[in-house]
């Protein structure tokens, strides 16, 4: 097989508490072997066998996760290549750790639709399916792209851009020294390179530290909780959080108007947004909050629409119904302990009977059925989990780590007195890797930088 080895989480996140990470390619067996401890060696295992063992960090021997590993040798596998599937039963955190370790081996994150593409290219998928395969790649890529675009506007990307700027200035300086040796441009010292690279190294180390604390890694199904004031949204949020132990709370940078909580329900990660007051308002300060709530609602994969059992439908609520119909919605009829004054039939007509959950947050009643509803939607595939965000986050970390390695190589080489045109190779690699995070094409920008930074010519 002539392809690189790739990996991706192949199950929707948190399904039944078990995640499958699929690895495919020539190096699947040998690369997974490096981080897998078991009685049998994967490289010696028969095809289509399952092995119990642990994923360990090869650097310190620490056990990361208890797993079952399936070995399927090509061509008798989905992609017709050697395939290893790692069944991990922890939640999202341990899946991330396993992915992280895999990507430190000679493995990269699969592109959208890549397993299917390989299956096709390797003759596993029927000719008639070609168009479907192309569609799949297109739609997955577009989705990945839109996620990437979302991230490109974020804080992470601003910082990456700053770091890239430092690197490209350094690169332009190196290149000018090489391409215009007689020009009166200051000769680049190894000290300068070490200083610049050192600066970027410490910034990336900071980024990676925050990543391991889970602050830049916010993944899960984006869930918006909407409803009129006092229908019990916040209590619902708190109940879910308490019940399921919030993973992260109090995200800096978010306003009080949108509170975020991370919870896992039956292993399904939810990112809960309590969109405090979605209603028309003329108050400027409040409006800002409302705007944010609206955009939170736009972003959501799942909408929890909370209404009061004890009150008839309010005009505001009827308007929202129009807005959210057709989305993935669970209508929560709260305060079932109070007398019914709600037109439940109207809600059923719009959203379908299966989408209505009756409960009392205060009395802790009906929480089970809510959780069941969420699981049902998730496992039926109705909710498109935003695992793309998740994958790209793992990708980010792996790219950041590779960048760090390249920069360390550059510093080390420059300390050893290696010529600048070779150190340049490592600096350039670092710059390109950072570019991959924010999806910047390499293009001619280095050459542009050279000519805008220096006055050159005959």
């Amino acid at each position: 097989m002539m392809y690189e080895t790739i990996a991706a989480v192949s199950t929707p996140l948190g399904e039944g508490g078990i995640s499958i990470i699929r690895v495919s390619g020539e190096g699947a067996l040998t690369e997974v072997e490096r981080i897998f401890r078991s009685k049998t060696k994967l490289t010696e295992a028969d095809s289509h066998t399952i092995h119990y063992g642990h994923i360990v960090d090869p650097d310190n021997g620490e056990k990361v996760e208890e797993v079952l590993v399936t070995v399927m040798k090509g061509p008798r596998s989905f992609t017709a290549e050697d395939v290893v599937e790692i069944n991990a039963h922890g939640g999202i955190i341990s899946v991330r750790k396993v992915m992280d370790l895999l990507l430190q081996q000679q493995i990269r994150v699969a592109e959208p639709g890549e397993f299917t593409k390989r299956a096709f290219l390797n003759g596993r998928i029927d000719l008639s399916q070609a168009e479907a395969v192309m569609d799949l790649i297109r739609s997955k890529s577009d989705r990945a792209f839109s996620v990437a675009m979302k991230q490109a506007e974020g804080q992470l990307s601003t910082r990456i851009k700053q770091l890239r700027h430092i690197l490209i200035e350094t690169l332009a300086h190196i290149e000018v020294n090489i391409d215009y040796p007689e020009h009166d441009v200051e000769e680049l010292t190894s000290l300068f390179i070490q200083e610049r690279c050192g600066q970027v190294i410490s910034e990336i180390e900071k980024l990676l530290k925050t990543a391991s604390e889970g602050k830049i890694l916010r993944e899960g199904i984006v869930t918006a909780i909407i409803g009129r004031p006092n229908v019990g949204k916040s209590s619902l949020l708190n109940a879910l959080a308490q019940d399921n132990k919030a993973i992260v709370t109090d995200i800096p940078g978010t306003t009080r108007d949108v509170i975020e909580e991370f919870v896992t329900i039956n292993g399904i990660p939810l990112r809960l947004l309590d969109t405090a007051g979605i209603r028309e308002t003329s108050d400027i300060v409040e409006r800002l909050g409302v705007e944010r709530s609206r955009s939170a609602l736009q972003e959501a994969d799942l909408v929890l629409f909370v209404v009061n059992h004890n009150e008839p439908l309010h005009p505001d609520e009827r308007e929202w119904m129009q807005q959210i119909v057709g989305r993935q919605v669970i209508v929560i009829v709260n305060k079932m302990d109070l007398p019914k004054r709600l037109e439940e039939d109207e809600l059923k007509a719009v959203f379908g009977e299966g989408s209505i959950v009756t409960m009392s947050v205060k009395e802790q009643e009906g929480m089970d059925s809510l959780e069941k509803s969420i699981s049902a939607l998730f496992f039926s595939g109705s909710i498109e989990s935003n695992d793309m965000t998740y994958v790209s986050n793992v990708r980010h970390i792996s790219l950041l780590k590779k960048t760090l390695q390249s920069l360390h190589d550059a510093v080390e080489a420059s300390e050893q007195g290696i010529p600048i045109d070779m150190i340049q190779i490592d600096v350039r690699t670092a710059w390109e890797l950072l570019g991959e995070i924010i999806g910047d094409a390499v293009g001619d920008s280095l050459i542009d930088q050279i000519f805008s930074q220096f006055c050159l010519g005959k």
Partner: protein
């Protein structure tokens, strides 16, 4: 009245740096070749700086030579100064640069052309392409002479609708007041070519005796000059120095006061000029806070008093040019002999070419050099030699020769042109090459001479000596790998002397040589070779050992590139048929028509997802074609 004046295998139009290489390559490969030029006195003329080489450009000259081209030999015969640049950096960016005797350079090239079998040199201005059924079959000159051939190479330089601009003055002209070619552009347009308008320029020339050299710094050549051609082993050329001075505050004031008369800023110039070769007025406007700029004074030859003023390229009016010159220390009383000027010309949009430099619009028509949007003698010559080779291959019905980005700067140059195009005159820079470490000055022969030999441009004699070099280098590498070093007194003394840590255990010589402080000369003294190695071979051995780590890294990347380059895309693919590719990418792909997936990945606007889809489509296409094939076989 038109008349048939001759029939050839190949015709090259234009005898500049591209044309000379193209004609020589075709003729040497056995094609009966005609070389037409507007003016026979202008063969291999250098209209701008009297120098050849430098970073990337020098590498290219070396590559031309390794393939069997002429530029390297010609400059080795005619240089008046030779310098190796970047010697303080890694071996990959060492770059040879020569100052040429312009007049001798021309004369020598003309002699070579005149004495080459199969090659006819003739004066004539081509005005019309003769195209039949989408194929170029000949050309017609102003006098009505029709020359017919199976392949035509156009190397028109800056002559196509050339226009010289000097302040308010503007007139139709080729470089250095040569007759421009006014009609050929029309013929190209008529046959569907998209043309663009580019601009370049040249500084004034001054009289040597009016320069006060005492106010300048001397820049001598190397004491032991190296050469461009692998064939040149020694030279007794006398070397001349260049001189360095700087612009003054006065220079900047004069330019600023006269900006309204600068065509660059008054809007007269419509062509796009190169950023890397700006005029002095451009430099002063764009980098206003730079207090002074370098000015190099370079002799144009041994038997002339003309000096080229590098750094003062300008299209200011003549009176301002003189004031500018005289504001520079050392040039206070200078006599200006030729005025600097800007020149606009037509160029072909290079994405209309296949990587062979044959046009996609008109079969049998190749273009090379400045007409393809490049700038520089070396870039022109490189395309010339490739166009000549591929024209000959076409005539001889042989597969084309395409160099990839990991093989040669020439490959980088042509791939950039035909895949990405260019929106300014294109200059090679080492930073354009992804695999710079592999594309070294020292190993051009290892990379390209076997190809030159296969296609008949490298002589048997030269190839034998090349193979001998390869063999000896291999043997020496082997010896160094297997020779053991014991931590004895001699080694420890040497290591102490060069400031390297003492040896604790034994190792092999190769390992010792990998230490940054240790050179081949050091190990050679302690562990002498029985082989007869010349300096070139020793250098090769040293580089291959010292930088093996980095070299291997790049080789791995190249392996990945090659895989993609090997996936060929059939010519008859209809991109509008490919379901799922984004529409911008479809348009780009349909326009460029990449030969391989590798080339497709380098087209701007084509995303990795588009490439994935294209791969799936190709697989589908190939399987369907195979099925159809087997069905028709059965019938």
């Amino acid at each position: 009245m038109s008349f048939v004046a001759g029939q050839y295998d190949a015709i090259v139009i234009g005898a500049g740096h591209a044309g000379c290489e193209a004609a020589l390559a075709a003729a040497r490969m056995g094609c009966n070749t005609l070389l037409l030029t507007i003016n026979l006195d202008m063969v291999a003329f250098m209209p701008c700086n009297p120098s050849i080489g430098g970073p990337a450009k020098g590498h290219v000259v070396r590559e031309i030579d390794a393939l069997g081209g002429e530029m390297g030999r010609n400059i080795d015969k005619t240089f008046v100064q030779m310098r190796m640049l970047n010697t303080g950096k890694g071996p990959a960016v060492h770059a040879l640069r020569a100052q040429a005797d312009k007049f001798l350079y021309q004369q020598t090239m003309k002699e070579t052309i005149e004495s080459t079998p199969n090659l006819t040199l003739r004066q004539g201005m081509v005005e019309e392409l003769i195209v039949e059924d989408g194929k170029c079959v000949g050309v017609e000159t102003k006098t009505g002479a029709q020359y017919l051939a199976k392949a035509i190479v156009l190397t028109t330089g800056t002559y196509l609708r050339g226009k010289i601009i000097m302040g308010e003055l503007m007139y139709e002209s080729g470089p250095n007041n040569q007759q421009p070619s006014l009609k050929l552009s029309e013929s190209l347009r008529k046959h569907g070519f998209e043309l663009v308008r580019f601009k370049t320029g040249t500084p004034p020339r001054v009289h040597k005796h009016s320069i006060d050299f005492s106010k300048t710094e001397i820049q001598p050549g190397d004491e032991n000059p190296k050469f461009f051609s692998y064939e040149t082993k020694s030279s007794d050329n006398e070397q001349l120095p260049c001189w360095l001075t700087y612009t003054s505050e006065d220079t900047h004031r004069i330019i600023n006061e006269n900006l309204h008369r600068a065509p660059m800023f008054s809007g007269v110039i419509e062509g796009t000029g190169p950023r890397y070769c700006p005029s002095i007025e451009d430099k002063i406007v764009r980098f206003a806070d730079k207090p002074k700029h370098q000015v190099f004074l370079e002799p144009e030859g041994k038997n002339t008093a003309e000096y080229y003023v590098q750094g003062l390229s300008t299209s200011m009016p003549e009176d301002v040019q003189l004031k500018i010159l005289r504001s520079v220390p050392g040039l206070e009383n200078v006599e200006m002999m030729r005025t600097g000027y800007a020149i606009e010309y037509d160029a072909v949009v290079p994405t209309q070419l296949w990587p062979t430099l044959e046009s996609k619009k008109v079969e049998g028509l190749f273009t090379a050099g400045q007409i393809n949007g490049t700038s520089g003698y070396e870039e022109a010559a490189a395309q010339g030699v490739m166009a000549g080779i591929n024209a000959a291959r076409k005539v001889q019905e042989q597969p084309p020769v395409i160099l990839d980005r990991s093989q040669a700067y020439i490959g980088v140059l042509i791939d950039d042109l035909v895949t990405k195009g260019t929106n300014e005159p294109y200059r090679l820079l080492t930073s354009r090459a992804e695999y710079r470490l592999l594309l070294r000055h020292d190993n051009a022969d290892l990379r390209l001479t076997p190809i030159g030999y296969d296609i008949g441009l490298i002589t048997e004699e030269r190839y034998t000596s090349f193979k001998c070099k390869v063999e000896l280098v291999e043997q020496e590498l082997d010896r160094l790998k297997t020779t053991k070093v014991k931590p004895d007194e001699a080694v420890q003394a040497m290591l102490a002397e060069v400031g390297s840590a003492p040896l604790v255990n034994g190792c092999d010589v190769m390992t010792l040589l990998r230490r940054p402080e240790v050179t081949y000369a050091h190990v050679e003294q302690l562990y002498p070779s029985t082989l007869e190695l010349d300096e070139e071979m020793k250098e090769q051995v040293e580089i291959q050992i010292k930088y093996s780590g980095y070299i291997e890294k790049q080789l791995l990347q190249v392996e990945r590139l090659r895989k993609m380059e090997k996936k060929l895309i059939p010519h008859d693919i209809d991109y509008h048929d490919v379901h799922g590719i984004a529409s911008e990418a479809k348009q780009k792909l349909a326009k460029i028509r990449p030969l391989s997936i590798g080339q497709a990945t380098r087209i701007s606007g084509v995303s990795p997802a588009d490439i994935s889809i294209l791969l799936v489509y190709l697989e589908h296409y190939n399987r369907v074609t195979a099925i159809k094939q087997s069905q028709s076989d059965e019938e």
